[in-house]
């Protein structure tokens, strides 16, 4: 990271040595503008995304169409929402491996609330999101009060959630037969003409909420402080323990929402899967420039990261790259995009 360092030895992130000055130079100045400027910088990282989009558009006439772009956004929605919540966790220096199977469990709970218990739509949806919050709360308590390292605490939760999904559902999908409108949460077309699904609109709203939370509220400030130096933050009189619980709970709420949307999309709560989704979401966060060491990151970056992943997957399919080559291509593009982004920052 540390861009202008002249020492040859300290390549990577872990080097807390002098001079992250380029960043500083950009950041310096009136505080009112800081957010905008931060975003602009991210918009430069946007460059990778633009290039990828341009290449695919050139390669296939079917890529850059309204319908296909909406398909990409739809594909990005669920992972993207998971990634938004987990951005907060990662900025504190933590990690959340339970988001994938946690989401599946939330989907199952949506089925329980709406189909088995027959709650009205709004109540079932709210209960599901809150249930996600409870998963996050438990993670937060395990990490913050019991002191279990985040990786282990959320790994345990990942396994527990995976199992409970099967147990609660009886290893069968639950259908939303009582509330057929449930599926419109994700699928309802909200713009006449093109099929712009409500779920994508919800994703966009969540992006805005997450961005505001992270950059303009006390929660966001403490998120960065804790990730920057947890011990110093605690000694400054911040109730780090409580804030960490809040942050994991917040991530859990996003998981709950993702569970609602994915179940809504499939009109059913599928009790399996979810494993591996956490890596996808974390990858989106990290590709977006958020550091796993904590203290650095942004929502804009996460969104770009999620889009890069979704565009790559879609585009490679559109141009019919044989599937066994697709993951090779995704791997290489991720490496190159991140490398170029680092070069740019270093030069800036």
């Amino acid at each position: 990271m540390s861009p202008t360092t002249t020492k040859p030895e300290t390549g990577s992130q872990a080097a807390p040595t002098p001079s992250t000055s380029a960043y500083a130079a950009i950041e310096a100045g009136k505080p009112r503008m800081a957010w905008l400027r931060g975003s602009l910088q991210q918009l430069l990282a946007f460059a990778s995304l633009i290039v990828i989009v341009a290449v695919f558009s050139f390669a296939s006439p079917h890529f850059f169409t309204a319908n296909n772009l909406v398909s990409i956004l739809t594909a990005a929605t669920v992972t993207g929402i998971l990634a938004l919540g987990t951005t907060f966790v990662i900025i504190t220096g933590g990690i959340d491996l339970s988001i994938g199977t946690g989401m599946v469990l939330c989907g199952v709970m949506a089925g329980v609330f709406l189909t088995y218990l027959g709650l009205p739509l709004w109540a079932g949806v709210a209960a599901t999101i809150l249930f996600g919050g409870v998963i996050g709360l438990i993670n937060g308590v395990n990490i913050s009060v019991l002191g279990i390292p985040p990786f282990i605490a959320t790994l345990g939760m990942m396994l527990i959630a995976a199992g409970l999904s099967l147990v609660i559902s009886g290893t069968k999908p639950i259908y939303f037969s009582e509330t057929p409108e449930f599926q419109s949460i994700m699928n309802l077309s909200i713009i006449p003409g093109i099929r712009f699904p409500l779920g994508v609109a919800i994703f966009i709203v969540m992006i805005i909420i997450a961005a505001v939370l992270l950059s303009r509220t006390i929660l966001g400030r403490y998120t960065f402080s804790i990730g920057s130096n947890e011990a110093a933050t605690a000694l400054s009189g911040v109730n780090v323990r409580r804030w960490k619980i809040i942050i994991y709970t917040l991530s859990g709420l996003f998981v709950g929402l993702a569970g609602v949307l994915s179940a809504s999309r499939l009109s059913s709560a599928q009790p399996t899967g979810g494993m591996g989704l956490e890596l996808e979401a974390i990858a989106a966060v990290v590709i977006g420039g958020t550091s796993l060491q904590g203290g650095k990151g942004s929502i804009v970056g996460t969104v770009i990261g999620a889009l890069i992943m979704a565009v790559l997957t879609n585009g490679l399919r559109i141009i019919s790259v044989p599937q066994e080559w697709q993951s090779v291509a995704v791997g290489i593009v991720i490496l190159v995009a991140v490398y170029l982004d680092m070069l740019r920052r270093r030069r800036a």
Binding site: S71, S189, R265, L266, Q270, N314, R317
Partner: protein, 306 residues
């Protein structure tokens, strides 16, 4: 050699009933749950103890081998096994033979002479039948694509190849434009079906090779708002979503196997082997094409699961 546990009545699970361990290719999916249900039904009928286990994904050969190993360590009276890879299981099957534990293969053949019999669906023929119905529905010409659940498993390959070979041999005017693999995950299959449809606006039909793939394709058609009359979807296996899609006209029809029958026949064969009866080389558990016209027939309803 393992400690005791020779064939006969000594159950590994403590009780007096013979214990039959079933190691399948999965346990989470509806299909496997139906196999399990059939096995349990037979267990009750023939008064044996069973366990039913399978790896989390059908790509996880190693996990299956471990489950088979554990099953052997429990000294069962007989084993039912649906191999992900026959050769990979070779040493363990040999171990079972050495310990005189009879092995019954199910779902797909085990490429070895150790299993006494195999209770399975002929996937190649089943996929060919799906292809035949597809060809008919699109008027024997145009582009079609496949969304397959798995690239490397025998079932995945057979259901792909049966379909492809039928088209190549019988339908010169049908072109297969794309084959993609979605791991049987509905959302992923939906996303990739959408990409296929976007890339081929004149596509006539899509075939989904298992429940998750087929429902994913239906989901893609729904999300893209395509007129079902213009894009023919055929599927495989059953489940409520697929049955609903057929009733709603979003899907032409699907092939269903007889998973309950597979489970039932496997346990039954194991019991017969313990009783020293002669077993046939294969037990064909059959498959059926179902669509809006026959979905409510009694014979079909018997093999469908929700």
């Amino acid at each position: 050699a393992s400690d005791g546990g020779a064939a006969g009545t000594e159950g590994g699970e403590g009780g007096d009933k013979p214990y039959v361990a079933l190691v399948s290719k999965g346990f989470q999916h509806q299909f496997w749950q139906a196999v399990k249900a059939g096995a349990e039904q037979a267990a009750e009928e023939f008064d044996v103890e069973i366990t039913f286990e399978g790896p989390d994904t059908e790509a996880d050969v190693d996990q299956q081998i471990q489950q088979l190993q554990t099953a052997l360590d429990k000294s069962p009276a007989a084993i039912g096994f649906a191999a992900l890879d026959s050769q990979a299981a070779g040493p363990l099957l040999q171990q079972a033979k050495d310990s005189s534990i009879p092995v019954i293969a199910f779902d797909s053949g085990v490429d070895s002479d150790i299993p006494l019999t195999t209770a399975a669906t002929d996937n190649l023929a089943a996929a060919a039948e799906a292809a035949e119905h597809m060809a008919e529905a699109i008027g024997h010409e145009g582009k079609v694509a496949l969304v397959v659940h798995d690239q490397t498993s025998v079932t995945g390959q057979e259901r792909r190849d049966g379909f492809v070979e039928y088209m190549e041999q019988n339908e010169p005017n049908i072109e297969i434009v794309d084959i993609q693999y979605g791991g049987g995950d509905q959302a992923k299959s939906a996303d990739l079906a959408k990409a296929i449809i976007s890339a081929n606006p004149d596509l006539k039909g899509i075939y989904g090779s298992n429940e998750g793939s087929a429902i994913g394709v239906v989901q893609a058609v729904k999300e893209l708002g395509i007129d079902p009359a213009e894009l023919v979807v055929v599927g495989f296996d059953s489940g409520k979503a697929q049955m609903d899609a057929i009733r709603d006209g979003l899907m032409l029809g699907a092939i269903t196997q007889n998973p309950v029958g597979i489970g039932y026949e496997t346990v039954k064969a194991a019991v017969e082997a313990l009783d020293g009866k002669e077993l046939p080389e294969t037990i064909d558990t059959g498959f059926y094409w179902y669509d809006a016209s026959n979905i409510d027939d009694e014979e079909i309803q018997a093999v469908l699961y929700e």
